[in-house]
Symmetry: C2
Subunit: 631 residues, 2 copies
């Protein structure tokens, strides 16, 4: 595997060099300072009642946030800059690290307190002991450690024996990026392409409790591997005023991006972007006004570099209120009733966004919270295709168009066919941790002779999944189901179990051979839906050490144990997929392609929870003028 | 069938009566006067170059549009109020109508000139003879007539012999709505429910050429049966400046809404909302600020009532520029390259919207035009469920929950399971009328031993549909294809055929027995995609006379002829589907549920057509203040 790895790194470097050719200009960043005042930004403000203003009164003034004084306020708050410093100094004094100049910290993140603790913690309660979870490489050996920030104790954690390596550090990537430049032949090749190589540098990256928006409350933190982590998502019941649990934790667990070219320089291109590169590490500062609208609030990530030193990734996440002109609900009376009735409510949502640039590709991940209790998770793909050189400059030179592994997207450039799979860890806790997974199957029922002029109709048949294998789902258009996570102990007024359903949108399934090495590593894409019992160590669908792993620690392996999942603390996994046959429009930078799935209340509320929100009137809306008019 | 129809009408009336209970207050309408000035509203303005302003300078002032002076400007402009009057007076003097007091005009719309004429017509050219297409009932007999508005000639049109009746007139619906009130027993039942029946009246309903937005140009008209008709959609090529043909005509051809309850009072509920009720006839005035944002421009519909008299449906369609905070394209350099490169362009789109209230349900239909050439057609469902009374007030009283045909959504109220299918007629003319339909199948290819460490990969295999049956498509997640409409005579610079692809989103397939009477009528939903050769008379997927038809004039019947479709003028049909298992949140008015499909350029452009649009800078954006601050 060593020579293949070298080839891989060479190509990685080469692609980066090519990317330099395609880049344009740099836009100066402006940071915006104040968190959104819910009283200004939302009419459904949970703290005060004020009319909605779709745009803020004054553009936020650019400021730079100082993180040296950050302190954690919530058990799930990520490690602060000061805490990251302390982790590093503690480790450097530890016997394991003493006299080692060659250590690298592959991951330094908060070791989250037990779920049972977090679920009972309330603001004002003391924080639990702050601990860091560290993945370190010392003298070529991997150690998974817990560092107690209070006592300074460093203790090893047994994660079992698995193939694979931890997420690359930014230093790994940088040094690997530079390594080929020591090779004169490589340099000659680059120069022959007229590429002026610029400096290549690296950066590694935490913060936050978001205040509350409308009827939602959740904890949001940047994470070096997952990107954005949403925890403790709770929504207000309009009848009781109670904040009700929906999801304990949701995040991008792994990505799988197999390219469809089996030839020498391409067969290994089957990336797992979270576990190999760090989805959060690759999230670059967002560009205000373009990545997010003017009313956005920005959050920084504070991460640790390979040597343990903390870095700040500015404007890594944005949060904004969005009004696209969509309708929350409406009803007009049909003209035949003759009644002039027209009740309509506009839809305003809260969007949490990050954009990760995993080398050439840009992934835009949105967590969208709606006032009707729906959570929409949307993934957008943009950026630069991974392309392949060819001697062809026109398709009329190609005898078998199927055999070029893609599309000739410009002269001498093939956009290679590939898939994108994004697997989400969705630890649903609907009104509490113990939930069941129910497939509500829509099944054709045939009527009996003389029963009805109808021959057939659809019946909804509820199947409660007892064990993990019952919950391995391949979606089928002609055998459709709804997928509910219900709390079997809690019923609505009229006796339906309270629940949320997973609503897949447009998606794609992996068609690779199950025994193909990439598919074994990406086996978490063998189904679109999985449900596992909660297990603190089962967070990363491709395995804790995804890099060069052989698939022995994936979601597919865990699920094969077929554990009981009925009325238990369960985790749902959903994979959003894209087949991508490139076209010329994707070149040189592709217009964003998006898909999404929803987590939607189903008999969670007693009735439409947004029936009572007020409509817009002219007086509620701001008056806008061109800048020129006000100058 | 007569007694069934009576039952049907009784129920229809009863439901309307129930709706009265649920309605709230009336909001006064404000009309906005001026069409959007592209120079103000778009930075990609085709006529001038100005910076984009996401909100207009001043809120449009409410005006009432006068339609008596309307004149047609384009061959596809709908009949004006004056023309509708002339059709009526011409018919009343005609031998067929003389001395008949019982005639009814089921449809009076523009008889569109031949496609070949429209395709060569340019602004400034004289208009063709204006003709009306009339479906009239005289002494219980249906006549399909052409009225020449210039010569006054009335000529019958042979549409063949088919089962079924034309779309109900508003008068049909109104009189039917009143008929049951002559029945004392019926009235007693209503009064026993405490319902105060209000007057029931009816309205029937055209206009326009939309000027142009960004790189798009299209003709938009309200239609009594289809709702919105988009014609002659053309998009500018950024390289040549040429306006290129994309779609000759696109509209909602038919809806099919089968309810899944085979019992006596419910089995027949299998609505075809366009052909039976008139999707446009049921489109009520939009509510400014709530149905559409403040920057919306509104259009009226001018339709003919059953007696031929023209009526105006105010604010039936809105058109607005939308910015939801989404990203058109982006690329950031990965941190490992060390380059501070971050190029992002916001996505701004144009939305054309109508909302039809077919009795209880509200359908929101959006045609969204993107600057990257993509057309997204989105259907939203809101309004009031069709519900069924029950003696149950809690699920604990129900022994077999599967057998109540739905969900107990409130005490004594069952939301009955049903499907919604919306079938679109998409007459694609990609760079000209003669196109081909190509299935680009993604097929697993197994490698030969020793060929590669990979066992498998996906290959894109192009299959050009020769005849209609090749183009009858059931979507399959595990046998995926892209669906291209290409112009085989036109290639890109590097030799790819220019095309557009249909990109389905989340959808549903009808699972009813193919021999079930409702499915025979709704047989146009037997596949998700169909392609037929262009035929002026094949516009309505459920048949010209959908009402009580027996399925002898549907898309499925036409397609069965298996005509040649390669390199011909072809029409693509796509059906968007929803299974709806109601939940308590849907009651009493359901939060909007949406799904969509895209028509997307695929090697239509030489490269990303929006690469050169400029980013937002602070100076480009308007300054907004709360109304209070400016008062």
């Amino acid at each position: 595997m060593d020579s293949r790895n070298l080839i891989r790194f060479l190509f990685f470097t080469f692609i980066i060099a090519l990317l330099l050719l395609l880049t344009l200009t740099t836009i100066p960043l402006t940071n915006t300072g104040e968190p959104p005042d819910c009283a200004i930004n939302s009419r459904w403000c949970t703290s005060k009642t004020r009319f909605f203003q779709p745009t803020i009164k004054q553009p936020p003034k650019p400021t730079t946030r100082i993180h040296t004084t950050d302190v954690p306020h919530h058990p799930l708050d990520p490690l602060t800059l000061t805490e990251l410093d302390k982790v590093r100094s503690t480790l450097l004094e530890n016997q394991l690290f003493l006299h080692s100049n060659t250590y690298a910290l592959h991951s330094v993140v908060l070791e989250e307190p037990d779920k049972s603790f977090v679920l009972t913690w309330k603001p004002g309660d003391p924080l639990p002991a702050r601990k860091a979870s560290v993945i370190a490489r010392v003298k070529s050996k991997i150690h998974v450690l817990t560092v107690d920030l209070g006592t300074g104790e460093v203790s090893p954690r047994d994660v079992g024996e698995h193939s694979g390596y931890p997420t690359m550090t930014m230093e790994d990537m940088t040094s690997l990026t530079w390594a080929p430049l020591g090779d004169a032949e490589f340099n000659r090749t680059i120069m022959a392409r007229g590429v002026d190589l610029k400096d290549v540098s690296c950066l590694p990256i935490s913060i936050g409790w978001f205040v509350k928006w409308a009827n939602w409350e959740f904890h949001l933190k940047p994470d070096p591997r997952a990107g954005i982590v949403i925890s403790r998502a709770r929504v207000k019941d309009p009848n009781t005023g109670e904040m009700r649990n929906v999801m304990y934790k949701g995040f991008t667990s792994e990505l799988f991006v197999p390219y469809m070219d089996p030839t020498d320089a391409w067969y290994f291109k089957t990336y797992m972007d979270a576990g190999e590169y760090g989805f959060g590490l690759q999230a670059m500062p967002l560009d205000p006004l373009n990545d997010c609208p003017r009313n956005a609030y920005y959050m920084d990530g504070v991460f640790a570099a390979g040597d343990g030193k903390p870095y700040v990734r500015e404007n890594m996440v944005c949060v904004y209120e969005s009004y696209a002109g969509d309708i929350g609900w409406r009803h007009s009376e049909s003209p035949i009733t003759g009644m002039e009735i027209r009740e309509v409510r506009p839809k305003v949502t809260l969007v949490v966004r990050m954009a990760a640039s995993v080398a050439n590709y840009d992934y835009i991940v949105d967590w969208e919270f709606q006032t009707d209790g729906l959570i929409r998770v949307k993934v957008g793909l943009s950026g630069i295709l991974m392309v392949k050189g060819t001697s062809y400059d026109n398709m009329n030179q190609v005898n078998e168009p199927e055999n070029i592994y893609g599309t000739l997207i410009s002269e001498n450039v093939i956009g290679v066919i590939h898939d994108h799979y994004i697997t989400f860890h969705l630890d649903m806790d609907v009104d509490g941790p113990d939930n069941s997974f129910v497939k509500v199957n829509l099944k054709r029922e045939t009527t009996q002779p003389e029963e009805s002029p109808r021959l057939s109709y659809l019946k909804a048949v509820r199947n409660v999944a007892k064990t993990e294998k019952d919950a391995q789902v391949k979606l089928k258009l002609y055998d459709p189901s709804e997928y509910h996570i219900v709390n079997p102990s809690k019923k609505t007024r009229v006796g339906n179990p309270v629940g949320y359903k997973l609503v897949p949108g447009g998606t794609a399934a992996s068609l690779l051979d199950l025994d193909d090495p990439p598919q074994k590593r990406g086996a978490f894409t063998n189904n679109q839906i999985w449900v596992t019992p909660y297990n603190k160590s089962e967070e990363w669908a491709g395995g804790l050490f995804a890099y060069q792993s052989q698939g022995d620690d994936t979601l597919a392996v865990w699920s094969q144990r077929d554990r009981a999942i009925e009325n238990k603390d369960i985790v749902m996994w959903y994979t959003l997929g894209f087949h991508h046959v490139p076209c010329q429009e994707d070149y040189p930078i592709m217009p964003t392609v998006s898909s999404s799935f929803d987590l939607k209340p189903v008999n969670f509320y007693e009735s439409n929870p947004i029936l009572n929100i007020p409509p817009h009137f002219e007086k509620d809306l701001p008056v806008c003028n061109a800048v020129a008019a006000t100058a």
